[in-house]
Amino acid sequence: MSGAPETEPQGEACITCGDRALPLRVIGPGAEPGLARCADPQGREEEVEVGLLGPVAAGERLLVHAGAAIARLEGER
């Protein structure tokens, strides 16, 4: 359940268990339906499940937990 501070490198909190969530930015659609390509603040890319949020647009920031986006970070920039 930890919030991953975005200015820190990964690995200081519970990186896998996942109760850590990461703020990632949408770059574009993923290789399969329901997935989107996202990047972390360091530019590392990964494909993320976005089925819980409905359509996402490039540039949006998402809170990602265990490979799935669980919330939009609308108020955060």
Binding site: M1, S2, G3, A4, P5, E6, T7, E12, A13, C14, I15, T16, C17, G18, D19, R20, A21, G34, E46, E47, E49, G51, L52, L53, G54, L63, H65, A66, G67, A68, I70, A71, L73, E74, G75, E76, R77
Partner: protein
């Protein structure tokens, strides 16, 4: 300024600490429980405990999913991994959790095919890439993590992937909270509530804490100022004689939760009759299992498991730490026989565990603590 820095501003932190002090009743110690291991980690990492007045004591709750896994379930995971045809995929933090005889890491060293993944989807990808292997995902986590597992199981079912299954250890937050709140020896005045679980279940899911047990709860974010502000909000409720559920993390947490995630959970999982929690014992309907419709993806039906209940090592006091009855440094093996490098108890394994948070941020020995 980066947005995140506003949540770490030292001046604002000191101002919040002063407000908390002004809300404290001199000489009356309030015990507040942070339910979530992520908050425990933030509190020690940023030394929030040292900013708080003596009248506020933070007690650490059972919200670290690694810490609450009982040894018997680790043994079951190792039994699955020991099968010739199996790849057991798990989150990294599970690797060092001790079973009755060994951990998954030690099982891997002995030849079992155990692989660390970052998401259930990664486990599914292994199953696709290696159709000749049986890939089993060792699922752990609260309602925050379970939707990701649910989506992956839906994918696996839609694809008809025959070599993928899930060893489900997902747990629910409400039953252990009720168990804690019902315990006569527990003296908790209020709660800092788990923000990420609340993104799924909604802030309102915690209404029972105030309505049925008469304790205020503030759903909190994970930056240092989020936690301080949440403590201030709980202290303000106590000072004003209010008892409500408030949402400090409103920028992320909706009051009703995430409906798509709740629907996915309801489709794929159902509550187990009972589940053993490390330190808390058996709690009814406190964990999830796959529904009948997903039976063929259920590793517990696919493989024979020992299913034994294994008592915690006698020297380990994780149970009392998880209930907030003792501080980590009060455990008889803290920092001596039990360290993050070689943990006896689960609370020392995960960085979100209370013992590891104390140990990693310099609360090393009981001698250094005030009496």
């Amino acid at each position: 300024m980066r947005y995140v820095e506003e949540f770490r501003d030292a001046e604002l932190g000191r101002a919040l600490a002063a407000r908390i002090l002004s809300l404290a009743e001199p000489g009356r110690r309030r015990k507040l429980m942070e339910v979530c291991g992520g908050h425990t980690h933030v509190i020690y990492r940023y030394a929030i405990d040292e900013l708080l007045p003596d009248e506020v004591e933070m007690v650490h709750g059972p919200g670290c999913p690694v810490c609450v896994i009982p040894m018997g379930r680790v043994d079951d995971g190792i039994a699955i991994a020991a099968r010739e045809e199996v790849v057991l995929a798990c989150f990294g933090d599970m690797m060092r959790v001790p079973g009755s005889e060994r951990s998954l890491q030690e099982a891997k060293a002995a030849g079992a095919d155990v692989r660390v993944v970052y998401s259930p989807l990664d486990a599914l990808r292994i199953a696709r890439a290696e159709p000749e292997r049986e890939v089993v995902f060792f699922a752990i986590g609260f309602e925050t993590t379970a939707p990701s597992t649910a989506l992956t199981l839906k994918r696996a079912r839609a694809e008809g992937l025959g070599n993928f299954s899930c060893f489900c250890n997902h747990v629910l937050i409400e039953p252990p909270l009720r168990a804690l709140l019902s315990a006569p020896e527990l003296e908790i005045d209020g709660f800092v509530g788990p923000g990420h679980v609340a993104t799924i279940v909604g802030a309102r899911a915690f209404d029972f804490v105030a309505a049925e047990y008469g304790r205020p709860l503030v759903v909190s974010g994970f930056e240092p100022l989020d936690v301080l502000q949440s403590v201030e909000m709980v202290m303000r409720q106590l000072a004003e004689g209010r008892c409500e559920v408030e949402n400090q993390y409103g920028r992320v947490v909706p009051s009703e939760g995430n409906p798509a995630a709740l629907a996915a959970l309801a489709e794929v999982f159902e509550p187990r009759e009972t589940f053993e929690w490390r330190g808390l014992g058996e709690i009814e309907r406190s964990a999830l299992q796959l529904t009948e419709a997903y039976a063929e993806l259920d590793a517990e039906r696919r493989f024979e498991l020992p299913g034994a209940r294994v008592a915690d090592p006698v020297e380990c006091q994780c149970g009392e730490v998880l209930k907030g009855a003792i501080k980590p440094w009060e455990c008889r093996v803290f920092g001596t026989a039990c360290t993050p490098e070689r943990a006896i108890g689960t609370c020392m394994v995960s960085p979100e565990g209370a013992c590891a948070a104390y140990y990693n941020y310099g609360r090393l020995s009981r001698e250094e603590q005030p009496a």
